[in-house]
Symmetry: D2
Subunit: 348 residues, 4 copies
């Protein structure tokens, strides 16, 4: 691929060790079927923190030097050969999952679980930079009606919408386990889908406060309360119809499985580390519970749903608690590590 002689600043994993660094790299250029986007805002994800910390997963997957950043929006500044849409000048949001287009899942209408998925900012250079290169087919054309900071975090908002919309929520009772940004986003998404009750649980006071601000009907502090008992009490002893597991925490998962009613639905989005113990007989089989693994965003059903929700008035701005320019990234990552934040925006 031809590269530009121009350079830009980028936040990158530059060597096989913890931490990140600001680097000067060539501005990318668009090959056939590709576009280059001038980045306007990005979000920091838990995945970025894993790479920052250089944990075993990150060491096995990421090959430095690598520019990070997979939640982003911006303006198309270059369109490569054969690209009909989007056009130069259009405002777009990036879908960071690059599907191969040829495996049985891509052909079968499920490119979001493509067998050869690559991720921007993980497997290819990402958006913590002035510009980012993307297949044209991975750009969601949004128009300027959505605020830039909101557009920048439609990737995790999409996780929330995908998890919530994976079953019918109208008149249902819902428990959201884990109030990170995705769990917090899910609160109004469930309310707008007509849920009768949206309960949220976490172990951080900061996050429980955000859950209240996002409109949770019931907020449970999992450090102090028996989550399953509280949820049963709130549902006349029956248990909740739907659980959205956003924590990846073994106790959170157990709480969710105990709290769901016979025949209920559990969307599993949180990623536990390693194997964990489950009481499959009592919590799944005998209760005839459905567990649905949730990954990424449906292409492009979830994006269409998100866009409509935002136009209907979905307000996720309370979750966006901090903003930093790119060169204050150390501060941003330290804050994320502390747990005293919602979603943090980085502006390149």
């Amino acid at each position: 691929m031809k590269t530009s002689t121009q350079t830009m600043r980028a936040l990158a994993k530059v060597r096989d060790a913890p931490g990140l660094a600001l680097a000067t790299v060539p501005v990318p250029t668009a090959g056939p079927g590709e576009i280059v986007i001038k980045v306007e805002a990005t979000g920091i994800c838990g995945t970025d923190l894993h790479i920052f910390n250089w944990d075993p997963w990150a060491r096995g997957r990421v090959h430095p030097p690598r520019v990070l950043g997979h939640e982003f929006c911006g303006t198309v500044v270059e369109a490569g050969p054969g690209v009909r849409v989007p056009q130069v000048g259009e405002f777009v949001v990036g879908e960071c999952h690059l599907a191969c287009g040829h495996c049985h899942l891509c052909l079968g209408g499920q490119p979001h679980i493509c067998e050869s998925l690559e991720i921007i900012g993980v497997d290819r250079d990402g958006a913590f930079a002035g510009c980012v290169r993307l297949p044209a087919g991975n750009a969601w054309r949004l128009g300027r009606s959505i605020p830039v900071e909101v557009a920048a975090v439609m990737d995790p908002l999409g996780n929330a919408v995908h998890a919530a919309h994976s079953t019918d929520l109208t008149t249902r009772t819902v428990a959201i386990i884990g109030c990170g940004p995705i769990g917090l986003f899910a609160i109004p998404v469930c309310k707008m889908a007509g849920a009768a009750l949206v309960a949220a649980t976490d172990v951080s006071e900061f996050r429980l406060d955000l859950a209240r601000r996002m409109g949770a009907d019931l907020v449970i502090d999992a450090r102090r309360d028996d989550v399953a008992a509280r949820l049963r009490a709130a549902t006349g002893g029956v248990g909740v119809d739907v659980v959205l597991e956003m924590s990846g925490n073994p106790r959170g998962i157990t709480d969710g499985l105990r709290a769901v009613r016979n025949g209920g639905w559990v969307s599993l989005l949180g990623l536990p580390t390693g194997r964990l113990e489950v009481d499959l007989a009592n919590d799944v089989v005998l209760k005839a519970v459905h567990l649905a693994g949730i990954f990424g965003r449906r292409l492009w059903q979830t994006w269409e749903q998100m866009t409509r929700l935002l136009r209907m008035g979905l307000d996720i701005t309370p979750v966006i608690t901090h903003r930093f320019p790119l060169d204050r990234f150390e501060e941003a990552f330290a804050l994320l590590q502390s747990g005293q934040s919602g979603k943090i925006i980085l502006v390149p």
Copy 2:
């Protein structure tokens, strides 16, 4: 409830200890909304073996004296007040799960997962006897076209049909983990639903032979082979579309989760003892797999499907390997314990 002065022989848990005994008990009579069935044949279930062995689950659930037996068919000999159907003289099969009719699940069309379920032969006296009493609404009217021994085991056949029909199988590849009677029944059920491949796995040569006789396209001995690897090889590296987990065995469950493709479906019917370790992140969330707990039989969709399958030519008779009169029950239970049997019929 009024009881008859007539007596009959029944196989019962007569005291709080391992083993069963032939007892002489009153012939039951039909109360309002109830029928009495003269039992023609019964099947022995793994649950009966748990009660025979008096394991912790059985000790916690069953209150002696209790007549066992929940897989059965026979002729209606008495119909209580208010019973319109079935009529005296009709041949019927018993659905052993007694739903309350008033909880939110019964009212919501899911009585098979009723919150207050009672089970014939566990919570009330069962069918290892000359006669058995049953709510009229728990009798499936079958007609005489189905052989008595087949009718007697429609309860476990229904488990197989419920698990198999819980997702669309047409042109799909299926792996059945565990070749007890339910797993064996599932083999032709999947074939008749249009599955492209039906693989079956077990650790018993006796059962693997039965799997071959029932028409499995691929039979895998889990003692010798890497089940997930064999299933991937048989599906072009992709993994199977559907897993029917019938073993309840930790390794079987792990094999099934590893063998299923991204976006695939796992019906969980086998009951593991205690908690077990699952790699939820890699085997469920990141693969976007759907796990469905399967319990009982849908009332009465599963029974209608079974009846149609039997009329279409479904032949489960190779799975029925042994028959005993009631007084040779010790022999029958010893054989079941040995693993050298398919389904065993007891004739009262």
Copy 3:
């Protein structure tokens, strides 16, 4: 059946001719499995008007003398032998469709489309009377938190909920064709299910005003406007995702089919008189549209959904425009005939 020596006043079709009359009839008594309800309020339905007018359908179906009235609520005053619930003193709403309980549809979980359905107030004596007799299993136990007038019209509210909830409405655009009480009820039901747009159309100014009061985002007067064109314009040229056809009017049906987008969903609830012309090729096949006939209420899923919606704040009271005591029935039916009413309540 044994009858009481007590008498009560009832509004009935007393002879084979147009009109109704107040009659004095015996108070019903409860047989096995039945209850008697002291009626607190009833709703008048379009079906009652057909019987009042004695049109060809009514003449073919109704056999005088017959007490009318199938939308009702009240208190249980007698419970026959074998009735466990509801108990005497409980406040209940009647489901007027009596399923046989034994046909393949009842057994298959679809009693609302039973092959041998009978209707209270049409095929058996109804609730325009002091008391009404009902199978115990046709009573929905509601508690006293819902106003009596609202409880009285849960039958048509259930039609609206059944039609609306038959497909996922979250973020969808919806057009409701016909603003009789059921269409009007459907407006807030769709909004509460998360619809992005709820448009309503009718030919009566009175009803269009009610549609505005019920919260329709767009109200179209079908006498003056091209309904399909207006709906396309409101949806960026695409057409609406979902149509709820509540009019039974040939032009309304055509408007709905033209307005729905490719791959959209049409719930058909309105009953056209006689055969009507449809452009199946262009409006259904080539657009891959789904048409779903909607009848009655799902037992009891729809009732559970309605109850939850009412507890969540669904307010249908603006649709209840008039109340009459039983002896002013002539006035009530004349008003209904005029089209200048929403739902009319009769109090016996």
Copy 4:
């Protein structure tokens, strides 16, 4: 677009009048994202006959000169810039519907009902020629295991599979109305999906004979028999669970709607000419029937299903009754017009 200096023979509508002609045209060349396929076999479709006859629909849609032919297979002989798959030398089948890739339906996973669909052989030059040009993304890679004549007609086979697989057929009773090639293909497709009964009806003895050969359990001559009555009799008076309407004939549609049971499913694939009368109240609303318009083939779910069915042994060759070289096209079209054929193959 650059064109070749080489020429080839093609069957085309050369002027605004009935009939077709063999013309000499330039061999197409592949632009960016396109391939050129050397055609090995093609099928003649009813649509081709409409264009041959130059009926009103054809005159409004087709702009001469236009090479016809949209059912085809062959070998890739050229791949344009940016094409990764298929590669030159691969055997492929063409999907003749060209989706835009950018409308809300393409983005929403339903490109088969794209709002701006173009059709090969109708809106662009087709495959009744030595070579045909196609977007690379419209080629289904099949391998050589499927016979060329079968591969050539996977387009209409896909219509049959799409219509049949649009609802669950396992243990269901099915009536196929209309035994043209698509209806005939549907017979074994339904059997392989586990249908309990597959009935087929037509008005042509030739086609009814083919229906018998394809394995229909019940063949009804609609000229002599009351189709709905026969189907009710064959289903114990209940009516069929599923109707596949393949005729587009008003009487066939009425027969199908009358024959389907309460709560049943009707796939509508046949295209009636003009508006037709339907008894929506009695045949759809009151019976709670579901009508699904079926168009094209799901991309690529239907193709994957078809390929699996063919590998599982689906044999459609009895439906392929005649073969002609391109220059005997007059004979082929006259035969198709006569109704005395199944599918006719043209070999360029």
